[in-house]
């Protein structure tokens, strides 16, 4: 980064990027935190860092949106660490908030709140994988890059996250199950041979 900061041309490119990506970034952060304030804070911090390093983030061949997702994910992880160190159980807090919202919600909204509550109860990596793949519509390979884990690990996280959510929400996955993620037992070959888009049976 030069001492003078980004050049005029890159200012314009950043503003275009900011305008087109800010909502998606907030949405992503909300999926991870299930909290509007936290999501806004993380997204704002992420964009600030992107602006600070824009010449590098936007260099030819790079993917600024993916960079932002990785930074946001790391910020959320850091937030979770500090919260858990303070022993304010995140799941407990979110449950309390969701219970309050449910009291005033209609049936459809309560279903959404049930999903939020179930999502809040997932382990960290499972929640990340579910949000990246199902809310952000990222292929498994990109999920792995953002989460900094192997592709097979993402598939395991997705399978367990989906199964956990299905159990809690009383959902029976469809018979075709083209998106169903399977466990590794006895099917490691199929897990490892699957394409990035496919999450095998």
């Amino acid at each position: 980064m030069t001492d003078a900061g980004p050049h005029t041309g890159s200012v314009e490119s950043f503003r275009r990027f900011f305008g087109s990506e800010q909502d998606e970034l907030v949405r992503f952060c909300w999926g991870l935190t299930l909290d509007h304030d936290d999501a806004h804070e993380v997204a704002q911090e992420t964009m600030s860092r992107a602006w600070r390093d824009w010449d590098r983030v936007s260099a030819e061949g790079s993917n600024p949106a993916a960079w932002c997702r990785t930074v946001a994910l790391n910020l959320v992880r850091g937030m979770w660490r500090r919260q858990q160190t303070a022993r304010l159980g995140r799941g407990a807090i979110e449950t309390q908030v969701l219970v309050e919202r449910a009291r005033h919600a209609d049936v459809e909204t309560r279903r959404d709140l049930d999903l939020e509550q179930a999502l809040a109860g997932l382990p960290q990596r499972q929640r990340e994988a579910v949000v990246l793949h199902h809310l952000m519509d990222l292929p498994v390979r990109e999920c792995a890059a953002v989460m900094d884990v192997g592709v097979s690990s993402v598939k395991v996280h997705l399978r367990r996250g989906r199964d956990s959510l299905a159990r809690q929400l009383g959902v029976e996955p469809g018979p075709a199950g083209e998106d169903r993620v399977t466990g590794p037992t006895g099917q490691n070959a199929s897990v490892q041979n699957a394409t990035d888009e496919e999450v095998p049976r």
Partner: protein, 400 residues
């Protein structure tokens, strides 16, 4: 949220129940409480972010810890209850201790318990749990040991696999613990997973075609058959890596006795702690003899059967906690969490000196060293494994 998010399509996962419900839940959430738009940082932020004259260092706006902002009355009540219970425990424990001591004491204060060398040592059951667990962790992490590890997954038809784990405390030179996992099975001669860096580990990994032994690298003798263990190779490695970093991250102050020398504990450093970050340890004879962690979808039970005779090291391994990726090479970016009144210029200078002295080819070691800089409360990074960059960028965030 604008219309873009509202008209989003599920793409290749059209018809998938979870995709549809997540998208709908997001729309509902933002419809019921519309998000504030972000401020474009290129136009200058109006909510108080300080811009340091040096573009390589940005002093970020103060922000309260997010969890506290939403801490409900429930959290305060829970905290008060813990304080009351801790106080009751100490009073009960102190009363028993004081009653067995010489009431005169050096200062005549019956409220100041002292250890009388002729009195029997307090048993682990009567000492504060935090003290018992802290001592056990110190003894366990400062000596070498061998443990039998049982790893299973959710499939009831697959028997858990077992492995032998060896642990050596931090090498005084590298400052990093040396762990290996030895697995044996009918279809496998021997597979050894090297965790943490240490010269001996590199020698043992010389036969492997994996990269030089860094945390998570495999040294395989024979063949690896994931089906025999019921977990994928990546899954097993994730669990072993998690296990090796979990024990040093037990928070002794969180210890809650559950009987028979067992304690429920909280794990304070949570990456890669993937699951609910609690565990159960068993203490006997001043050491951790069992560690059980409800791993993601499986179980991980470590029974520490024997303790080696490696010389004790002065520095415990508890500082081997790396925020962010487990295997950063070159450290490209680091965010330092400091108090509001910290002299960030002095901290930055100290970090630059460390960078100059140590070089920047072992990101994990550099991060550990930065963590010890006076004034630094916490360190995190967005640097990914294998990243390269011309310089280390330093950022600060002030926590209240």
């Amino acid at each position: 949220m604008n219309g873009k998010a509202g008209t989003r399509e599920a793409g290749s996962r059209d018809g998938d129940w979870l995709t549809e419900r997540l998208h709908r839940a997001a729309e509902t959430a933002f419809d019921s409480a519309p998000a504030r738009p972000l401020e474009d940082p290129s136009r200058g932020m109006s909510d108080g972010a300080d811009q340091h004259p040096d573009p390589s260092v940005v002093h970020l706006a103060e922000r309260p810890p997010s969890g506290n902002r939403r801490a409900p009355l429930l959290g305060l009540v829970a905290a008060l209850l813990l304080v009351v219970l801790a106080g009751a425990w100490l009073l009960w424990d102190g009363t028993d201790s004081v009653s067995s001591l010489d009431p005169a004491g050096p200062d005549g204060d019956p409220g100041a318990p002292q250890v009388d060398s002729e009195e029997p040592m307090q048993s682990e059951e009567t000492r504060p749990p935090a003290e018992v667990v802290a001592e056990a962790l110190e003894n366990t992490l400062s000596t070498s040991w061998v443990a039998e590890v049982e790893v299973g997954n959710e499939d009831p038809d697959v028997a858990p696999s077992s492995a032998t784990v060896t642990y050596h405390p931090a090498d005084p030179v590298s400052g990093r613990p040396y762990n290996t996992v030895l697995m044996e099975g009918p279809a496998l001669d021997r597979a050894e997973l090297a965790l943490s860096g240490e010269p001996r580990v590199v020698d043992e990994c010389a036969e492997s075609d994996m990269p030089p032994c860094r945390p998570g690298a495999w040294a395989v003798q024979g063949s690896w058959n994931a089906q025999d263990y019921g977990v994928s190779e990546d899954g097993y490695r994730d669990r072993m890596e998690a296990a090796m970093t979990l024990l040093p991250n037990v928070d002794p102050t969180s210890a809650t006795p559950v009987g028979d020398g067992a304690y429920e504990v909280v794990l304070s450093a949570l990456d890669p702690c993937d699951v609910n970050c609690t565990a159960r340890i068993q203490v006997a004879d001043g050491r951790v003899v069992s560690f059980m962690h409800p791993d993601m979808g499986g179980r991980l039970v470590m029974d520490f059967r024997s303790f080696g005779d490696a010389p004790a090291v002065q520095e415990p391994a508890s500082s081997d906690i790396v925020e962010g990726p487990l295997r950063p090479g070159t450290l490209c970016e680091v965010t330092l969490h400091v108090a509001v009144d910290t002299d960030t210029a002095a901290v930055e200078q100290a970090v630059r000196e460390l960078e100059s002295q140590m070089g920047n080819t072992d990101g994990a070691a550099l991060m550990r060293a930065i963590r010890e800089v006076p004034g630094v409360d916490d360190v995190s990074t967005t640097t990914g494994d294998g990243a390269t960059c011309p310089e280390l960028r330093i950022g600060f965030v002030a926590n209240r």
